[in-house]
Amino acid sequence: MEVQLDELPEYFLWTKYLKVTTHGVDPVECGADVQAKEVSRVGLYMYQCSGPSMEPTIQNSDIVFAENLSRHFYGIQRGDIVVAKSPSDPKSSICKRVIGLEGDKILTSSPAGFFKNHSYVPKGHVWLEGDNLQNSADSRYYGPVPYGLITGRIFLKMKLKSHNCKAFDTDEKLQTWALIMDWSYGAFTN
């Protein structure tokens, strides 16, 4: 599913040791994938998600905020939605929910199937699944993900809608974004 997204203006805001960056995102076909750049030591990140794999929790082109303190202090819990580097492409990121931590027993076959297959999450890894199970490439496809690939935990999401303003149309196709005051503090932890 391809979606046309225009580039968000990029600006940095340094407040002592916190860095808040906005990014424009290239659309990715499957899964709630995000595009992100550098990871700083203590950071607050803002991403735009594309793809259907986290519906209905995170819709396509929602803005999400992630923090990386939980990851540094190993406080990621089951049920958290995390942003991680994709195991097959380190330059792109994925956005999934943590279903199991190391040592947990995970059902890998279909829950409705007759023969149930279980496996244990190995040490140092986590099991990620998207909320939209029919349309998500996650750990059921590429296996448990090493903890070191997790870059942040999402704690806030925001809806965003774009408006085409003819007055601002230039050769560079500038568009203005109208923020809809729809802050949803979803239940991201259980």
């Binding site: 580097k85 195991p87 097959s88 492409d89 330059k91 090493p146 070191g148 690939l149």
Partner: protein, 181 residues
Amino acid sequence: MAQSQGWVRRYFKAFCKGFFVAVPVAVTFLDQVACVARVEGTSMQPSLNPGGSQSSDVVLLNHWKVRNFEVQRGDIVSLVSPKNPEQKIIKRVIALEGDIVKTIGHKNRYVRVPRGHIWVEGDHHGHSFDSNSFGPVSLGLLHAHATHILWPPERWQKLESVLPPERLLVQSEEDCLQGSP
């Protein structure tokens, strides 16, 4: 009296200003460009730590070179351990994505390295916790490229990216694409 106190205040102000500029700059440099680390263990003998526990080598870790996850076969790299995210391990890159490796002690004799992964091994086979134990590692775990040994001074040298001759690949990705047997 007032003059000497004024001097102390000025000094303190200058110190604070310098401190709040220097610390973020230093932290950013150490995180993004290069840092220095001590190597523990015997898994990379004889390239690193040939003296064992008597003297640990100190290496220069170059983050800047791996910021786009570009590594070559034979590079010595440090990465986040897939089994323990709190630990960094230092190994040599043997194979890149698409290559087929002949493993030593792995459950499968031949392994094709998946997309976005690399195969790392320590030079001291048998005493190394590497891809022969935990399989190919994702490139996202790459931390830095070890370029030089800085300490002890008699071991000051540039680390060469050379693949050990006995670890030649069964088939590399380039060979597959060119259609050689």
